[in-house]
């Protein structure tokens, strides 16, 4: 039997540290590399009973990318990596003055989220402007795939010969 001292030597701790670092790296990569979809939306929206009307014109830049111009009832999706992002909005007020909103920082929680320009313009805190966006599964146009068939074919030797490698 090995004594406790022999098991818990420096090598043990180095290995433990390695495993911890790798797990930490994995967690970091998961957060850092995860791509989420953000829909920036200029629709009239109702939040907590209050209705916010769509802006007539707005210019929005997510994470400092090239700004996009919005007219009402417009919705553009951005694939975003990582969790924390910023949004900068420029909009026209009623007297057609261009007003730049201070840059808002927000976090994405869901795979697909929707952020509302009118709500942000109205000065609501960012968390309240974001909602989860549930994608309606589009009806499958193509015939349903059947992996079982693929397996059976593969076993019969088909599909090997023309393979690109």
């Amino acid at each position: 039997m090995k004594s406790a001292k022999e098991i818990f030597d420096i090598r043990f701790f180095v290995r433990l540290a390695c495993i911890v670092v790798i797990i930490a790296l994995a967690v970091f990569l998961y957060n850092f590399g995860k791509e989420r979809t953000l829909l920036v939306d200029n629709w009239t929206i109702e939040i907590n009973g209050t209705s916010y009307r769509a802006e007539d014109w707005a210019k929005v830049s997510v994470d400092g990318q090239k700004a996009q111009e919005y007219s009402p009832r417009m919705r553009i999706s951005f694939p975003l990596r990582g969790r924390t992002h910023t949004i900068a909005i420029t909009y026209d007020d009623k007297s057609f003055n261009e007003i730049e909103l201070p840059v808002v920082e927000f976090k994405l929680e869901h795979d697909s989220s929707l952020i509302s320009i009118p709500a942000l313009v109205a000065g609501l805190p960012a968390e309240e402007c974001i909602q989860e966006f549930i994608v309606q599964p589009a009806p499958e146009a193509a015939a349903e795939e059947n992996p079982e068939e693929a397996i059976a074919e593969q076993d019969a030797g088909f599909g090997d010969m023309t393979m690109e490698i």
Partner: protein, 379 residues
């Protein structure tokens, strides 16, 4: 002093390098017939090297440990695919996605490699056929997991990965999110035309990775474990007498190979851009082994040089033959069948040559004895 080159030396050189020579001749004949431009071919070859060299390199270590061609590298490919299925489902993109896939694939590859290695320890002397059957067997298990386990048991739900019926992974998964992310991270383009297309693309980062793996293998040969593997590969009994843990060393060789194969598969698929869930891995072992053998490796001896020469020659043949077939007979299909025939044929030829050579060496001692008596008589 100039060494005389006798016809015996030439014959020996030919018989030791018969496979690469066949391929060089084959390619030399096909290049003019296929009629591709040199630039196109160079670009294609670079792409193939990028794609395949990691996979082929993973075969070297078991050969060093005397376990022959590791047909079980398919297991590593499965692990790599499982890693990619996870990151695609979680939508982790670009290089972080590939890194995470590699982290996920590693423990799976280690377990599979351990399984494969322990099995091979029970079948000493027929490692190759056994590792071949292991790859078939584990293919079934992989399908069980991917087709019925993913969804209900392993919680994945992304519709890009999982079939609409709620369980099982799609036949093909689009890897757009990670496609060429390592290659394009730092790519140098040469000889492009006005539109910025065509020409030759050199993915520098991928090459750095491949060179790093080569260095790792060179370093590995110099380590104690590398030395042990060479010892075990030459004679298990002598190694055991010297106190080397033979079984453990052999298992380690397979584990390392499997893990490298997993990484290789991730690089390969990220370059390809699509994952054929039920097909990609099943043939990759065969093609990698064929490429290595084309480079002049044998069942018992292989080097990094063989890997690169092999990939260049084998894939040159692979690119050329369909076009050559079309230009020659008017049917590309013949070329396609031909290249498959050549792949299988090369493996067959190498295996046969290896067995014959081993037996010939055994027969040598009798000849020496007869010779000795004759010389005595003369004296």
């Amino acid at each position: 002093m100039r060494k005389e080159i006798t016809s015996k030396d030439v014959r020996k050189f030919l018989s030791n390098n018969i496979v690469p020579i066949i391929f060089i001749v084959l390619c030399a004949v096909c290049i003019p017939v296929a009629g591709y431009t040199g630039q196109y071919l160079v670009d294609q070859i670079i792409t193939r090297i990028v794609r395949n060299s990691f996979l082929v390199l993973s075969l070297l270590i078991p050969i060093m440990a005397g376990m022959g061609l590791n047909f079980g590298m398919t297991l590593g490919a499965m692990a790599g695919q499982i890693g990619l299925i996870f990151v695609t489902s979680w939508n982790i993109v670009s290089i972080p996605g590939l890194l995470l896939a590699a982290i996920i694939a590693t423990p799976i590859a280690v377990v599979l490699g351990w399984f494969c290695g322990s099995m091979l320890n029970k079948a000493k002397g027929r490692e190759m056929i056994t590792s071949y059957m292991i790859s078939f067997f584990m293919n079934g298990v992989y399908q069980l997991v991917v087709l019925y386990g993913m969804g209900p048991v392993i919680p994945l739900s992304n519709s890009r990965v999982i079939l609409p019926r709620g369980y099982g992974v799609r036949n093909t998964i689009d890897l757009l999110s990670v496609r060429k992310s390592i290659d394009n991270f730092w790519a140098i383009r040469l000889f492009t035309d006005e539109n910025g297309t065509g020409g030759i693309t050199i993915p520098v980062l991928t090459f750095i990775l491949i060179i790093a793996l080569c260095l790792v293998i060179v370093w590995f040969r110099k380590t104690k474990i590398g030395q042990d593997m060479r010892a075990v590969g030459q004679d298990m009994e002598v190694a055991r007498e010297a106190g080397i843990k033979v079984e453990r060393t052999r298992i380690l060789a397979i584990i390392i190979s499997t893990v490298f194969a997993a990484y290789g598969m991730i690089i390969y698929l990220s370059n390809m851009g699509t994952l054929n869930t039920y097909n990609s891995h099943s043939q990759i072992g065969m093609f990698s082994i064929a490429a290595l053998l084309v480079g002049g490796a044998s069942v018992s001896k292989a080097s990094i040089k063989n890997v690169f020469l092999g990939i260049i020659l084998f894939h040159l043949m692979f690119i050329l033959t369909p076009q050559a077939g079309r230009n020659l007979i008017g049917q590309a299909q013949i070329g396609e069948f031909f290249r498959v025939f050549v792949s299988y044929g090369v493996i067959t030829l190498s295996l046969v040559l290896y067995e014959i050579r081993t037996r010939r060496e055994k027969a040598e001692s009798a000849r020496n004895l007869a010779l000795g008596q004759k010389q005595e008589e003369k004296a």
